[in-house]
């Protein structure tokens, strides 16, 4: 059963459907959170919050506005980014970040995460972007930087970063179009 249907059942309090939904989305949710948050213990904590929020807020899901998976992963990403930003604000990670400055993150974590077909496609497509498009997209999405921070890191004007992000995502869509 698809996540969309499961989510509707979950909204009705069906715990069995939630277990099915968990099997379906826990990997993507945890993997994404881990990619952004990095710290394993904190990642687990954020992933737990997100998965529990799916249970609590399933009734908010509206299929007309997009797929369940998109809704779920958008939620997970938002929570992960919130966490990484508050940690950053607390200065915990400054040291490690300095080392990573300007590096696209996707190469570094590559070994940590499970290889899959979709993953391969995304990697391949990311490589097809220009360096600035790729860095703008990945620094924001995988590392949780705001576009202002991205501009600072890449020493680019704000307008350029916004454009690179949009072009990067659009090009990714074109490249992934045949891989769905």
């Amino acid at each position: 059963m698809a996540a969309d249907e499961l989510l509707v059942l979950v909204a009705g309090g069906d715990q069995r459907a939630f277990e099915d939904l968990y099997s379906l989305v826990s990997g993507p949710v945890y993997g994404l959170v881990r990619r952004v948050v990095r710290d394993p213990a904190q990642s687990e904590e954020v992933a737990q919050e997100v998965l529990l929020e799916l249970w609590r807020s399933a009734a908010r899901f509206d299929p007309r506005r997009g797929s369940a998976l998109s809704w779920i992963l958008t939620l997970a990403h938002r929570r992960a980014v919130d966490r990484v930003r508050s940690a950053r604000a607390a200065g915990e990670r400054e040291q490690r970040e300095a080392l990573r400055a300007g590096e696209p993150a996707f190469d570094q974590v590559a070994e940590e995460v499970e290889a899959g077909l979709e993953r391969e496609w995304v990697r391949r497509c990311l490589k097809r972007l220009t360096a600035l498009q790729r860095q703008s997209v990945t620094l924001a999405y995988y590392d949780g930087y705001t576009y202002r921070e991205v501009a600072e890191r890449l020493s680019l004007p704000l307008g350029t970063v916004k454009t690179r992000m949009r072009d990067g995502l659009t090009r990714l869509r074109e490249c992934l179009g045949g891989a769905a």
Binding site: L7, V8, R173
Partner: protein, 271 residues
């Protein structure tokens, strides 16, 4: 602000769609853009597309979750109550297209005047969630066969609800009795519930009919109390639903005047 200034400001806001989809705005900007989205169909459409792209990036990061996480989450679920949020009270904390605070692109044309008949799916989901919940709740003291049958039914209902064009409509009379339908015109499926009509006396039954132009009413089955009925194979031309009181076992054609009738136009039928 001058007209040019306003245009520039607007253009500036448009350019935030990609950072917004990547969650790369600062909280203040995010709020400003959320507000802007409410009256910018173009941005809503763009954000929706860009967010789908961003989600592809998420998929590629999938990694097996620790097994202890599963135990903790499932345990927490057993003791965590669920939200019942009416559509109107939602606070958009996530992209509006995700929370449903925004009309999806291309659907903004739904005439306002039809609002009373047209319940946004969010409401439909909440209504049907209750329906599904009641189905699940009664499972405790049923045999395995019944349980499986009811679970299968709950899944069928979920299937109707998950259709991208699923819509809901209800009609309530002065005495608070109501008939509700959640339907997907593209799948030709509907879930129908009757509420407050009780059980007819003398062993008679409530029978549900599909009314079509230039055709005899077609029986969709018998309604047992408040239990939802799943109807399939509804043609695009279907015009309304009607309930009559019939002798035990039902009739081939209605033998009495409908006690209640509901048009299907607002849920996408009636071409």
């Amino acid at each position: 602000m001058s007209i040019l200034g306003r245009l520039l400001h607007r253009e500036d806001l448009h350019s935030l769609a990609a950072p917004y989809a990547l969650d790369a705005l600062e909280p203040g900007e995010r709020r400003r853009f959320d507000k802007h989205l409410q009256d910018c169909d173009r941005c809503t459409a763009e954000v929706r597309d860009l967010s789908e792209d961003a989600v592809r990036l998420a998929w590629s990061a999938a990694a097996p979750a620790p097994s202890a996480l599963r135990d903790r989450v499932l345990a927490a679920v057993r003791s965590t109550p669920q939200e019942r949020v009416p559509a109107r009270e939602r606070t958009p904390q996530l992209p509006p297209h995700v929370w449903g605070a925004q009309p999806p692109p291309g659907r903004a044309r739904t005439p306002r005047a039809r609002r009373p008949l047209f319940a946004p799916l969010a409401t439909a989901t909440a209504t049907a969630a209750l329906v599904v919940a009641s189905l699940v709740a009664v499972q405790a003291n049923r045999t395995q066969d019944r349980l499986d049958a009811e679970h299968a039914r709950a899944r069928e209902i979920a299937h109707v609800l998950a259709a991208s064009d699923a819509r809901a409509s209800t009609s309530e009379d002065a005495r608070g009795r109501s008939i509700g339908v959640i339907a997907s015109a593209s799948n030709g499926e509907a879930v129908v519930t009757l509420s407050g009509y009780g059980t007819p006396s003398g062993g008679r039954v409530h029978q549900l009919w599909l009314m079509r132009p230039h055709a005899q009413p077609r029986s969709l089955g018998l309604l047992a109390g408040d239990t939802p009925l799943i109807a399939k194979g509804l043609g695009k031309s279907s015009s309304s639903l009607a309930v009559t009181i019939e002798p035990d076992g039902g009739s081939a054609q209605p033998t009495s005047q409908p006690i209640v009738q509901l048009t299907l136009k607002s849920v996408g039928f009636g071409e």
